[in-house]
């Protein structure tokens, strides 16, 4: 038997550092990240060890563990040394995706190829991107339109998720907003594939969208995906895309406060809300959803055990949505237990990834009869 002896590799560490893993230097191995990581509710995963391996340049790039992190930021929220775990994991993944070390999981590779080829991870034809809005009488954004509504790829193609986009349009029409949707030339925002390490692909996507937006003179973008929100607002400026980005929840909250949105139909249901990581811990948008939900007449609102900054991730960020997660290891299933715990009939979400994951989970856990997953936009639209 060969004894495994470990020798630190400065070269490997340096590559990870070059790919943006600078935060590995800050880690002093306290293990809090491992302690708070949702993975350890379902299996064993030492983030701490993975960072230490990165520090010493001894990461096993062929091991699944480098693909585990869902970039939920639960650890970042509490890290005593402010280690930005998603950036660190992204750097490690870039070494695989961009530099060519290790193995990219098959399912992720397919999504990456789809995005690259047709501009969406689902592999749907680019020319059908705006088909969802065909019968809604929505105008395409042209120069001078006040606001661009940009639905996520899932909201464009995936039928159950698409309802959110439709509901959003309903609301916008109701208040007579001056808005338009993009044409079929836009592509995936790229947020998740970037976190999965495909940096050059991301840059292409960003550049494509930015060119379109800039050519059209877009100033304000309304989004219904927290992921689009995050990358448009925080990452696109680096590549020349500077826009006022607003998430529907914020927009609705403004409307309600300004008295521009009047509810007419009460919704007598017990509702709870799932904070998406990307709006919550990333953007600290917590109150808007709750204000919107509680202003809908009839709704009895109740918080789940893990809420706001301690919310439990649905398991879908950073490309995990595209990767296979074993049954029994899915955070979404745990989350549904929390929904059941408070006896809510409706789980409100405001993220297409959360929507997709929970829609799966209600089926796999046999809760489809008792729990309904609805986007915030759908609930508001129904109550108008």
């Amino acid at each position: 038997m060969e004894i495994e002896l470990l020798t630190p590799s400065k070269e490997t560490t340096d590559i990870i550092l070059e790919e943006g893993g600078d935060d590995l230097k800050s880690c002093f191995q306290c293990g809090l990240c491992t302690g708070v990581c949702p993975w350890n509710r379902v299996t064993t995963f030492s983030l701490r060890k993975l960072i230490h391996k990165a520090q010493l340049g001894v990461v096993d790039f062929e091991d699944d563990e480098v693909w585990r992190c869902v970039a939920c930021n639960a650890c970042v929220e509490r890290c005593p040394r402010d280690v930005q775990m998603p950036l660190l994991m992204r750097a490690i993944r870039r070494v695989i995706m961009e530099v060519g070390a290790g193995i990219v999981p098959h399912s992720l590779r397919i999504s990456e190829k789809n995005i690259s080829a047709v501009g969406n991870p689902l592999g749907e034809p680019a020319e059908k991107r705006m088909d969802w809005a065909k019968d809604l009488g929505v105008k395409t954004f042209t120069k001078g339109t006040e606001m661009l509504y940009f639905p996520c790829c899932y909201q464009a193609y995936d039928p159950p998720t698409r309802k959110a986009a439709i509901a959003t349009v309903n609301i916008l029409k109701k208040i007579k907003a001056d808005f338009g949707i993009p044409d079929n030339s836009v592509v995936c925002c790229g947020e998740s594939i970037r976190k999965a390490g495909a940096e050059s692909l991301y840059r292409k996507l960003a550049e494509t969208n930015i060119k379109i937006f800039n050519d059209l003179g877009v100033k304000k973008i309304l989004v219904t995906s927290p992921h689009c929100y995050h990358t448009f607002k925080d990452e696109y400026p680096e590549f020349g895309g500077n826009y006022e980005v607003i998430h529907l929840s914020q927009y609705l909250d403004q409307l309600i406060r300004g008295g521009k949105l009047k509810f007419t139909k009460p919704l007598v249901k017990k509702v709870t809300y799932h904070d998406s990581c990307c709006l919550g811990r990333y953007q600290r948008i917590y109150d808007e959803h709750r204000q919107v939900l509680t202003s809908i007449p009839g709704i009895e609102f109740e918080e789940m055990r893990d809420n706001r900054e301690y919310s439990l991730c649905c398991g879908g960020c950073a490309g995990r949505l595209w990767m296979e997660t074993k049954k029994g290891e899915r955070f979404s299933e745990l989350r549904l237990e929390q929904v059941a715990e408070v006896g809510a009939e409706i789980l409100a979400v405001s993220c297409p990834y959360c929507m997709a994951n929970f829609n799966d989970a209600v089926l796999t856990t046999g809760k489809s009869e008792t729990i309904e997953i609805k986007d915030l936009s759908e609930l508001v639209s129904e109550a108008l």
């Binding site: 470990l6 020798t7 630190p8 230097k25 800050s26 002093f28 191995q29 701490r48 520090q55």
Partner: protein, 653 residues
Amino acid sequence: METPKIGVYVCHCGSNIAGTVDVQQVVEFAKKLDSVVVAREYKFMCSDPGQNMIKEDIKNLKLNRVVVASCSPLLHEPTFRHAVQEAGLNPYLFEMANIREQCSWTTEDHEKATEKAKALVSAAVKRVRYHQPLETKDVPVNPATLIVGGGIAGIQAALEIADAGHKVYLVEKDPSIGGHMIQFDKTFPTLDCSACILTPKMTSAGSHPNIELMTYSEVEDVSGFIGNFKVRVRKKARFVDEEKCNGCGVCMEKCPWKAPSEFDLGLGERKAIYTPFPQAVPNIPVIDKEHCVYFLRGRCRACEKFCERGAIDFEQQDKIVELEVGNIIIATGYDPFDPTPIVKYGYNRYPNVYTALEFERLCNAAGPTGGKIVLRDGSEPKSVAIIHCVGSRDENYHRYCSRVCCMYALKYSHLIKEKTEADVYQMYIDMRCFGKGYEEFYERLSKEGVKFIRGKVAEVTDRALTDEEKGKLIVCGEDTLLGTVIRVPVDMVILCIALEPRSDAKQVAQLFRISQGADGFFIERHPKLDPVATMTDGIFIAGCCQGPKDIPDTVAQASAAATRVLSLISKGKVELEATVAVIDEEKCSGCRVCNILCPYNAITFIEDKEVSRVNEALCKGCGTCVAACPSAAITHKHFTTEEIMAEIEGVLV
């Protein structure tokens, strides 16, 4: 003797005593003892209400003896003596029974603890009957102070006392003051240069009108007591006349003979006539007889020829100086641990394994390499491993943590990163960065890309297993954070060696009648509340001779010791213990046995009367003479034979 009227007070000390000892039972027991007028219990006797209870009883019940059964008399005897005195009784008419430290805390069985407490109370009651009122006496304090050790602690203390206007004798065994601190390159966590912050203080100490610097000197004998010590100092022959020498340095320049520099730990050379380093205070060289060819073979005298002032004096002899001082501060510092016995770490076997102190000199711009961090062959290291806890936290060497290594190891990382391209590995057990700004320094160094590997290094070897390891020193051990054995090939290894007591700490302790702990460092009077005093009044300790510590803590202790001395000087007098020995001249047979036995020479023989007499100012009250007197002519006040006999009777109830 007046009729004794004794009050007994049993303390609960919260649950510290009452949790084990049945206080009620002890009180009932005490009530029945002879001459006991009142026996009470209270939750905290040392509190104001507790003390007031005693005072009230003394007034109302006309008590003339008091017994408190509570904690150790070493803790609260002064408290209760004071309370008794406030109520108009002589403070010595009080006795304490230690039913906490020596009873409730050491005994598990409640019944046995209660029995023991009763016996201790009974002993105190029986003893206190014999107590006599005693008066204390004052003696003046000599305002001069002796400070032993010219490192940062000694310098700091000397300056504080001298600045307050009092005479200080600063004795240093080496040719210059400065201690270990002047050997350091930078100081953590601020990274200010050690010499830059220390040399101004050294110069002030050297030129201060109130400081008499006695370098190259050692204390040989100490006698006397607080306020009035007599000290004998040997000034070793420098072979250079201090009065004549102007420190021009020509002698050193002209001296043709070289020797390894102690100051550079043998990494560099000095001349046979030398000052240890250029900023030496005083700037007066010494001739090293071991290496001076004139002393070895009888010719050369180059230094003498070139010295314009005629300061070289080959005939110079050691000089004995007698000093009289009121207080003494011991600041003798530490020795660096010699890692040679830890064979596996390769010190003295692999040339590129350095000790921390050697590395300090290597980093220092005035050091043997001019501040270049290089290997023995002059090349720059590409990787360096810093091994923590070498000789510290190790039952085989020293159990204690040396407290400064984590921080200087971080400092080294910074210096290496600053001066070379090398990769730095910290091989640590725990990072201990407890001081102000220390954790922040740790974080800063982490961000500079230093690699931390947790685990005690097992071995440093040159046996390569792979090509990559060839020609390297391979540091092996477990990375306990990965649970894997790790091999780190590096060019240079730095051992963070322990700080250990000076090799002559035992002699110093005996000379000054202070104690050493199990680790060999000097013991303070109380680890928390009296950190710079010793068990010997008038003798204080500061700096690393008390235990490993960093510069800020050392300076704080030195200032504390200086303050203690200054408060004694400003008070101007010390109260002598009243518990001294007295000789009944009627009974004394004049055999003089006690004269020889007394360690303080406090007993003199009065020739014309043919009796011995105790000088109360010199007597420290040990009672040795009392025990030895064949005529039973000597009484030890407050420890009289009757008192002790009564106590024996008491504990045996």
